[in-house]
Symmetry: C2
Subunit: 343 residues, 2 copies
């Protein structure tokens, strides 16, 4: 595996989204995410016979992809068990031989799949494993960086931290505010075209990786940083804390699922009250940025009856004193209002 950037993974657009012959949309979640958030960076899609999904992008074969100037073909599916089916390899090798970089977020490295390393060598293309952190990540220094930062944090895993960060970034961009989405997980990296898979970094270097991910910037520029895990998660809190310290966020947005009352997938870990979770995150955030504040709560309300949704969010907002919104239904405008108002 070669990383083209020194301390961040880098995928050059335009992208070709490869979805193989998967049958259902759920398996192509990554592809749909890239098509949704980076549509203008996508040259097209490539599907094998029998494929059941459609990203509604131009259909390209290898020569079409080359003609369209494709720089990177992204494997936009999560195959069962994280393995690539053998009958996809010939096509992927063909892309690499044609000089198109291959990017994937598999448990196995692309170079270890039959034929791909040789194809990349022949085509002068690069194999990019989005789960493998780049080399050269330093120990965190805690030095205060210029520019502004907002980090999504969670009450648990899988509560919308990536989606919320992407929504915040889009809302800022729509308002003409200079902003960059900073990806910390493989799907986010494929969408952004760059980033660091923070949970794969050796623990001593996690805060340092977060510092590298979000470097000095213009004073008014916002980095919108994708959070990972949760400070109260028994398995992953260390990742979350290193990311929180290294990000030095000026603002936090807490992400939550209205149906969640305990940590998902583990026995017996009740969630603390949301006010307490915010307090815990702010207490830690203020170690590297004393001005850190929480500017809103992003809630997945899909589990609530439609007519209860609004009242639930109002009740939470009343209790905590922050704007609360479902990013899929309401958007994140009220949270961005607060973010920009209280600077």
């Amino acid at each position: 595996m070669i990383n083209k950037a020194f301390t961040q993974i880098q995928l050059d657009p335009p992208f070709l989204l490869f979805v193989g012959d998967v049958k259902d949309d759920a398996s192509a979640k990554t592809g749909f995410g890239i098509a949704q958030w980076r549509r203008s960076a996508c040259a097209g899609q490539m599907r094998l016979p029998g494929c059941g999904v459609d990203l509604r992008l131009p259909e390209l074969d290898i020569s079409g992809a080359v003609a369209a100037g494709t720089k990177t073909a992204i494997v936009g599916v999560a195959p069962r068990g994280g393995m690539i089916p053998g009958h996809w390899l010939e096509t992927l090798a063909g892309l690499a031989r044609a000089g198109i970089d291959l990017a994937a977020g598999l448990h196995v490295r692309l170079a270890n799949l039959p034929g791909l390393a040789a194809a990349a060598a022949a085509g002068g293309s690069v194999l990019i494993d989005c789960r493998v952190p780049p080399q050269g990540i330093p120990i965190a220094t805690g030095r205060k960086r210029s520019g502004r930062r907002v980090l999504t944090v969670g009450t648990d895993c899988a509560v919308g931290k990536k989606y919320t960060a992407l929504g915040l970034h889009m809302e800022l961009a729509n308002r003409g505010v200079a902003a960059t989405f900073r990806a910390t997980g493989q799907t986010g990296i494929m969408i952004a075209g760059r980033g660091i898979p923070i949970d794969a970094v050796v623990s001593d270097f996690v805060a340092g990786a977060a510092e590298v991910l979000s470097p000095d910037n213009d004073p008014a520029h916002w980095d919108v940083i994708e959070g990972q895990g949760a400070l109260n998660h028994p398995s992953y809190a260390g990742v979350s804390l290193g990311l929180l310290h290294g990000s030095q966020p000026d603002a936090l947005v807490l992400c939550h699922d209205a149906a969640r009352t305990s940590i998902f997938g583990l026995e017996g870990f009740e969630l603390s009250p949301i006010g307490k979770i915010i307090e815990r995150n702010l207490d830690q955030a203020r170690i590297t940025n004393p001005a850190a504040r929480c500017v809103g709560i992003s809630v997945n309300t899909s589990s609530l009856p439609p007519d209860a949704r609004h009242a639930w969010l109002q009740g939470l907002s009343r209790g905590i004193g922050l704007p609360c919104a479902d990013p899929l239904i309401d958007g994140v405008a009220p949270i961005v209002d607060r973010l920009l108002a209280s600077e």
Copy 2:
């Protein structure tokens, strides 16, 4: 590098402590530590011509080491820059060829040093890098384990977490309480003969490593776990939090240096009041063990005038309501009293 144990590094006694030809005691700190805490496990020392230190152990050459039944030769020095001088290699290779395992905590792997891999292959011995975590560490489950656990935590790095844990373990053993020292750093691993270098573990697996390090045990047995970093350290807090969650400690002992008012080696990070630091650690500890409590503060008072030392500790103890002791001067008996009293 081969690790003999599945998920912990393992060094079999008896040990030979190799100190090369270093000139000063400070360079042989690890060797002195092993000689102090594991004297009965040490078959002897090996020094090269011109060596300036003396661990006061029987002087052994290679055949003497073999005759004494030595299982593992430990490189008990921290050479400048973490590199082994070339003229030590012949002797180290000789030990490996004689069937004695080699253990070290260098930045470079032993197998990458000229001749050592071949010597180990010829002698059927194992090269053990104490900075390299073992394979197969799982994601933490948060499952409550049987037995009791005390973890040393810190207000900063280098405030005596390892020394305090070793002292607590010895005090428990002296009182006839079943206890095991659990090492999380390379020096601790060399002293204990086993452990996991927790800061070298990929961040997603840190809490899981802590769970593996301190498995189910007899209900009355104490694991005394060596802490790493500090929850309020801008560079390393993620390591500390994963270790705290995975350890599920029943008791914490906070370690502090009386001279320390800000994080060592970084600009502008004042330490929170000690009461606040304890509160922060307990808040997090209670996520995986609601019964967690703090049982004392272990303070390095070497910076204080001798006649002020006692009053300083009394003042702190009065303020926090916990036994406070300098482990080097007072020992840790008052802390162990509290540990055992409040079960």
